[in-house]
């Protein structure tokens, strides 16, 4: 089966600053991959390239199917009601109906007619997820979508993302700084450093996962990120 995402020797530089220096990565259809790495190591840059927002690169990558993305900020259009935000850009469908279903799925059935600025951070982020999912993407790119949320909301969002992923089965590439989040959700954890993929771990744990079940893996991943020893566990 062809990969959902296939990246070979991808290079990206901003002027003289090399950010990606030969990235190789394959993501299988339906696979959930978490991308970890220090701040500024090029995670967002990689996602933007895959999303087609930056084509000034060397090397090759292919994303054969449809791509959708949710950013750290929800980036909703404040002047369009929630349901329009979800369905805008879709063609040849009943936008209202499609949006209603998607909003049901992210557990916001009563907010279809709300203005985005009246939503809480977590609600806005769920709308952003609904908007990404109605496009029935083969690849879903998530750039720290929970980064700005409080700890409790974040826990609820983890469950939601896992449920949505199990229902729709897109390949997911999730950028996060949170090792626990990665271990909780991902089939595989990939670590980016110095512009390359420096480590890749499969997380073979049954779902839904509990934190207690991944203590050992956590130490290994943290070691790859340059955080050593047991204090982290």
């Amino acid at each position: 089966m062809a990969s959902a995402v296939s990246i070979r020797g991808l290079h990206k530089a901003f002027g003289s600053r090399v950010v990606l220096d030969g990235v190789d990565l394959e993501i299988a259809p339906g696979e959930f991959v978490a991308l970890l790495g220090r701040s500024g190591c090029g995670k967002s840059t990689l996602l933007r390239i895959l999303a087609g927002l930056d084509s000034d690169v060397r090397g090759s990558f292919s994303v054969p199917g449809t791509v959708s993305i949710a950013f750290q900020q929800p980036r909703l259009l404040p002047w369009r009601r929630v349901w329009r935000n979800v369905s805008l850009g879709l063609h040849g469908v009943d936008g209202r109906e499609v949006a209603r279903k998607a909003l049901d799925e992210v557990r916001l059935p009563d907010h279809a007619d709300a203005w985005p600025l009246t939503l809480s951070g977590g609600e806005a982020q769920r709308v952003s997820l609904a908007r990404a999912l109605v496009r029935q993407p083969d690849v879903l790119l998530l750039d720290e979508p929970f980064g700005a949320l409080d700890a409790l909301t974040r826990l609820a969002m983890h469950r939601l993302v896992e449920d949505l992923w199990e229902a729709h089965r897109p390949a997911v590439l999730l950028v996060t700084h949170d090792v626990d989040e990665a271990l909780l959700l991902a089939d595989r954890i990939v670590v980016l450093d110095e512009g390359r993929v420096v480590a890749s771990h499969f997380v073979d744990l049954p779902r839904p996962r509990r934190r207690a079940s991944f203590v050992e893996q956590r130490v290994r991943v943290l070691a790859d990120l340059g955080v050593d020893d047991a204090q982290a566990a």
Binding site: G52, L53, V67, F71, R75, W79, R80, G89, W115
Partner: protein, 268 residues
Amino acid sequence: MSISVAGVLARPKTAVPRPRKRSLPLRWISPVALVLLWQAASSTGVLPPDKLASPLTVVASAGELIADGQLGEAFAVSLGRVFFGFLLGGVVGVVLGLVSGLSRWGETLLDPPVQMLRTLPHLGLIPLFILWFGIGEEPKLALVAAGVAFPLYLNLHAGIRQTDPGLVEAAKVLGYTRVERVVHVVLPSAVPQSLVGLRIALGTAWLSLIVGEQINADAGLGFLINNAREFLRTDIVVVGLVVYALLGLTTDYLVRLLERRVLRWRAR
């Protein structure tokens, strides 16, 4: 209001301030007192009627001017001038603003000359306009149009340029067509700034009208006022000024209504 209003590029308000209702009656104390003082000064002869007529005379003259249709006619003529001048300047300002806001080439070619011209105080153009258009209706319309086109252009252009690139990116990934990006992302985000431009443009339009009507007017509010001056009828001059002011306030109020309707997506 300064002379080169066309150069003004104000920031849109982020929140509409809540009017403080409780203090409203109190705020009327001093204006009413001033009018009473004015009336007292007129009645006692301190303020002679050839310098400034008394408030009661002004009200009485207003009643007469309305009754014999003079005011209505002058009003209609002036309103027409502002309307057509505004329409002309509005079309020019909006079309140029859109072209230069939405296309790189448009901006490269249009923006520099407009930015240079905007530094001219447009009311200073009267001598040229008289030479170009004579002393009929045309220079008056041209003056209003010039006063309107600049603030509309500047604010529309700035509004479009201020579009959040993050939203445009999101729209690209989500598969909006180019037209959808313009209609749902770029133009709506330019609306608050454009409304500021509209408000300034309307203020400038009235100012331009008042100045323009000094050019050999044979009808309209300016004619009414100038004519009254020749006969030392300060009461009629004041009536004309009050009508100008009311017109300005009315259009400002209409823009506020429009703002409230168009910007209702803003969080309270």
